[in-house]
């Protein structure tokens, strides 16, 4: 497993970036300080040590849970992180559910009607999805559904409703179910709709495309013809034989498109004013909050690597039979 090497590599990059952007303790300094005072602070934070030592100190701190001080939130990064993470996870999972169910459904629909109208329309959809600037799509949806139609709200919740329940998990949907509060649940869902669709759109397109081409490939295989020759109705041939096997390569794309999803959260959270990691990052970028930015990069990379690793394992398990049987 080269995972540890990759993690170390990523941490090195993050460390380098943080040092490149000027002194990481810039927030502790001010113009009135004398050079001696500056030197004293530098020494306290270990900045007079050689770089490799600094790296180890920093890495050690990370592993112990010290990710620095967030200038934006005026608190340690690790303290603010969990709440933001919960909000982003809720949004990402919702978007992923949308993307996977819609993607597989559309891909199957298009693949089974190859070269006919549904297939062509789906292809247009796929390519647009991959080319769509997420932030623009978000704004368009907002203009139509929030400004003009007024169907959906902005933000994560209505302040009063949100405050009316306890938040053990930090996931609004789950917490409202646990609290047995349907009003809160609907509030949560209603606020999720637009952002989840926006975020999931691009990923849906990727999954659709892969599912479609997988399915077309499977439909051309001999065993599908043999299944028909047995007298199985087309619906059974499609579901039990073609689609099941087409799902296997699609799973790899689902893993990769997760990266796509992660990147989308940044702008989606900005535009929908969703209080998650992405918006936190955006603020950090605008205000030069190094610690937050680096923590974010570290987190997303670790997450991305983990998801891909899981996908690889799942695929290897499923594919063991397929590959050997070919």
């Amino acid at each position: 497993m080269i995972l540890p090497i990759l993690l170390i590599g990523v941490s090195l990059i993050v460390f380098t970036l943080s040092r490149v952007g000027g002194s990481p303790i810039g927030i502790y300094l001010s113009h009135e300080m004398t050079p001696d005072e500056v030197a004293e602070i530098e020494e306290r934070f270990g900045l007079d040590e050689p770089l490799p030592v600094q790296y180890l100190a920093w890495a050690g701190g990370v592993l112990r849970g010290d990710l620095g001080w967030s200038g934006v939130s005026v608190a340690p990064v690790t303290q603010v992180f969990p709440d933001k993470l919960a909000a982003t996870m809720e949004l990402s999972v919702a978007a992923a559910i949308v993307a996977v169910t819609l993607g597989i459904g559309l891909g199957t629909f298009a693949g089974s009607r190859r070269d006919r109208l549904p297939d062509h329309l789906t292809r247009v959809f796929s390519v647009s999805g991959a080319s769509m600037p997420v932030f623009w799509f978000a704004i368009i949806l907002l203009i139509v559904f929030w400004v003009y139609l007024g169907w959906f709200p902005i933000g994560r919740s209505d302040a009063n409703t949100f405050a009316s329940i306890a938040h053990p998990t930090g996931l609004y949907t789950v917490d409202s179910v646990l609290a047995g509060n349907p009003a809160a649940f609907w509030d949560a869902i209603w606020h999720l709709v637009l952002p989840a669709i926006t975020l999931g759109f691009g990923t849906t397109a990727i999954i659709t495309r892969m599912m479609r081409s997988s399915l077309v490939e499977e439909l051309g295989e001999d065993y599908v013809e043999a299944a028909r020759a047995k007298g199985l109705p087309e619906r059974l041939v499609m579901k039990r034989h073609a689609r099941r096997n087409a799902l296997i390569p699609t799973i790899t794309v689902i893993g990769l498109s997760f990266g796509f999803l992660l990147q989308g959260t940044v702008v989606v959270e900005i535009i929908y004013q969703w209080p998650g990691l992405g918006r936190w990052l955006a603020d950090a970028v605008l205000r030069g909050d190094q610690a937050t930015i680096m923590a974010y990069v570290l987190f997303t990379s670790v997450l991305f690597l983990t998801v891909n690793l899981v996908v690889d394992i799942v695929y290897a398990y499923l594919d063991r039979r397929v590959v050997l049987g070919a």
Binding site: S128, P133, I139, V216, V285
Partner: protein, 307 residues
């Protein structure tokens, strides 16, 4: 059908190698253009490139810096259709159409520079890894893997944030992130060629490694690199616009992402045009390059069904 048995060898004239290459090229070009969607994409690209080049002619360039949006305090937030401002104006009175036209110039610059730089870096790194092999190959490929572990947008964002908000830094950041795939392609090609028997034959006849590189590796790599570069032309503008949108470019720049960002403030009061039109351009740009890239891939590498 002619008889198979006893057919004499064709007496057709033999083409020179250059003529063969040229004919193959025109054949491929024709095949690519046969696909209607690819053709549409190509037309859009040509249109946008033309607009980019003709920007100083199509509009009155802003002084002192045409890349800064002009400000007209007398024409704030005008809706589309206002005389003199077909697509409306921004909250600073900047003409949206101006922003779109000069934005295409900015995008063209961005994508061409970044693609050129990244292809070069990628080719160099990939060649070093492929030819030198061994430890160097391992180290370089580990670096590639590490770079691929960080999602592109986030990586570029971190770099640009650290360097400071400016469009130049965005160009720099993107160049540092997008070279990776090319390195892999080139290295893959070299390894493939290395494993091919005819290279050994060439070595026997005394061809130097560099010659092999020129004659075998490069020509075979052209197609996947071309496909990737075309797709990247679209992605780079997308990511670049996103970075500008988040705020990593200079405010007031005549760039599509910046314009969308500026315009979003007004949408709650129904001023949709300042964000919608520039965003549409980003979409069309990416769409066109994706269509052409897909079309190229379908023709040049039919194994990978991209449809």
């Amino acid at each position: 059908m002619t008889d198979v048995v006893g057919t004499p060898l064709s007496a057709a004239p033999v083409e020179g190698p250059l003529a063969v290459r040229l004919r193959r090229f025109t054949d491929l070009a024709r095949q690519v253009l046969r696909n209607k969607t690819t053709l549409a994409g190509l037309i859009v690209i040509v249109g946008m490139v033309l607009v980019a080049f003709l920007a100083p002619v199509l509009t009155t360039p802003n002084v002192p810096d045409p890349y800064q949006m002009p400000r007209d305090w007398g024409a704030l937030n005008e809706p589309p259709g206002t005389p003199g401002h077909i697509l409306g104006t921004t909250s600073d009175g900047g003409d949206v159409l101006y922003g779109i036209i000069w934005g295409s110039r900015v995008s063209l610059r961005l994508s061409v520079i970044v693609v050129s730089v990244t292809v070069t870096i990628g080719v160099i790194v990939g060649s070093l890894a492929g030819f030198l092999g061994g430890k160097i190959d391992e180290i370089l490929m580990r670096i590639v893997d590490v770079f691929l572990s960080i999602p592109e947008l986030i990586f570029a964002l971190a770099i640009a944030a650290v360097l400071g908000p400016s469009f130049g830094n965005i160009i720099l950041a993107l160049s540092m992130v997008f070279w990776v795939k090319y390195a892999r392609i080139i290295r893959g090609q070299i390894i493939h060629v290395k494993q091919n028997e005819y290279v050994d034959a060439a070595r026997i006849t005394g061809d130097s490694r560099f010659n092999i590189f020129l004659k075998d590796v490069l020509p075979n790599s052209v197609t996947p690199v071309m496909v990737q570069a075309t797709l990247d032309m679209g992605s780079i503008v997308l990511v670049g616009a996103t970075l500008s949108f988040i705020g990593l470019a200079e405010a007031g720049l005549a760039e599509w992402g910046v314009l969308v960002s500026k315009g979003q403030v007004g949408i709650s009061t129904g001023r949709w045009w300042a964000s919608t039109f520039p965003g549409l351009m980003i979409f069309l740009w990416a769409l066109a390059f994706n269509l052409v890239g897909d079309g190229l891939r379908d023709v040049l590498d039919p194994k990978t069904e991209s449809r």
